[in-house]
């Protein structure tokens, strides 16, 4: 058994929440630069330039790149030989989020009750935490500060097996077209295919944690990712929906086995503020 102190998790999570909001990943900034080289719409170029400048200001002044500092979503790989000393992993992460968001002047964007809209007492929590137990004694925490605008335009559909690849593609492209400017394009599009109702949504979210440019290791899925990206960029929505080539910076697909009668598909949109951080303990 390897023991990991509760407070070390709190501290590290607090720090990663701030880093996620101040420092856009290199993969995303590089994707902006690449897109800028290819973008043919003048207004699209202006937007991409502003996105690069915005990321620079956020990083040098240490202020959030976007005022929606998001819901904190975590995917945790917890080695089964780990023991959290002094508390449990869920509390440690939530405490880290409260600390990180409060001390970092990040926004408290959670309401306690979805219908009455009463605001939660605890700063920007509860976080959404998915734990995957794995072998070994390591603890890896992946975090995303997930914006509401793009989350709101995400979709899930229980399709028919006979809809096939063509039907799935159509549904995904419709989601992107319908989202238009609302989801703050250029987007990173995360797709989950298979599993069941809740599982495909999780797969779509999980796919967004892969860095931009990382293809699926299944050749047919990697090819589908590229195919979809090309078709999305051919829609002409462009940066901020003002017209242009760059609608999607990347497309990610995760698949899993499913029931003989089912073809679940979830499309989780991420805006250009694709904020992901990872720590290993």
């Amino acid at each position: 058994m390897r023991s990991i102190p509760y407070l070390s998790i709190v501290e590290k999570v607090a720090k990663m929440c701030q880093e996620a909001n101040f420092e856009l990943g290199n993969d995303v900034v590089e994707a902006f630069r690449d897109a800028l080289k290819k973008e043919r719409s003048p207004i699209g170029q202006d937007v991409l330039q502003d996105l690069i400048e915005n990321a620079n200001i956020a990083s040098s002044e240490r202020i959030p790149m976007c005022q929606d500092t998001g819901v904190s979503v975590f995917i945790v790989e917890l080695g089964q030989a780990c023991f959290i000393e002094g508390g449990n992993i869920y509390d440690a992460i939530n405490e880290g989020v409260i600390k990180g968001y409060e001390e970092g002047y990040l926004r408290h964007s959670i309401v306690d009750h979805p219908l009455t809209r009463e605001k939660s007492e605890t700063y920007n929590t509860p976080a959404i935490i998915h734990i995957e137990v794995c072998e070994g004694a390591h603890l890896t925490i992946h975090m995303s500060a997930k914006g509401g605008g793009s989350e709101n335009m995400s979709t899930l559909k229980m399709m028919k097996p006979s809809d096939g690849k063509a039907g799935v593609k159509e549904f995904i492209l419709e989601t992107v077209a319908h989202a238009g400017p609302n989801a703050c394009p250029p987007l990173v599009v995360g797709i989950g295919i298979g599993g069941n109702f809740e599982r495909c949504a999780y797969l779509a979210k999980k796919s967004l944690f892969r860095p931009i440019g990382h293809r699926s290791d299944r050749p047919e899925i990697a090819a589908l990712e590229l195919e979809l990206m090309e078709e999305m960029n051919d829609l002409g929505i462009g940066p901020q929906g003002l017209g242009g080539d760059t609608t999607a910076l990347d497309v990610k697909i995760e698949i899993e086995p499913c029931h003989i009668a089912a073809l679940p598909v979830a499309v989780n949109l991420n805006c250009h503020a694709s904020r992901h951080k990872e720590i290993r303990l």
């Binding site: 959030p64 002047y105 926004r107 901020q240 017209g243």
Partner: protein, 169 residues
């Protein structure tokens, strides 16, 4: 275009309260005649800053309330994303305008905000109504007083040019 002058902030919760005030026949917390509302819920300002990160939020969530405010003299809104048909019609009827700022550039936009003063509903925190003094605040006209919608025009113009290039090459 670049905006300089005074704008007021309001998002979901403040809109709901203003709407309820109107329904009860009460006065709004500020005179909205000829004013602009910016849909934003900024991050808390760091002690050395006027305002935190302050980019636009999705406008469509305010669609339900907007025609009423336009009828009361509101001149324009700044946000991001589509508006409903009712809002577009009301913009035309009231000769108003809808502008978009670049979603997700809160750090960049906050530099153009020079003063911030709370006007109403302070307890709503980032969702309260603030009066902002802005200088060269960047925005794009999306829906003008004729009802033209730049989101569809921009896309059409771009796709037409692209297709022309394709057929020429």
């Amino acid at each position: 275009m670049l905006i300089s002058g005074t704008i007021f902030t309001a998002r979901d919760a403040a809109h709901k309260r203003m709407f309820e005030a109107v329904e009860k026949g009460e006065d709004l917390p500020f005179d909205i005649k000829d004013q602009f509302i910016y849909y934003v819920g900024p991050t808390p300002a760091m002690p050395w800053m006027v305002i935190g990160s302050a980019g636009p939020t999705t406008s469509s969530r305010m669609d339900k309330y907007t025609p009423t405010l336009l009828d009361m003299g509101l001149k324009g809104m700044i946000g991001k994303g589509y508006r409903s048909e009712e809002v577009v019609a009301s913009i035309v009827k009231n000769k108003a305008v809808y502008l978009a700022a670049i979603g997700g550039t809160g750090a960049l936009i906050s530099r153009t905000i020079k003063e911030m003063e709370v006007v109403a509903y302070k307890e709503l925190g980032p969702e309260a109504i603030y009066k902002l003094t802005v200088e060269d605040f960047p925005a794009t006209v999306i829906i003008d007083s004729q009802g033209s919608d730049w989101y569809s025009i921009g896309k059409t113009i771009f796709n037409d040019t692209k297709n022309k290039e394709k057929t020429q090459s």
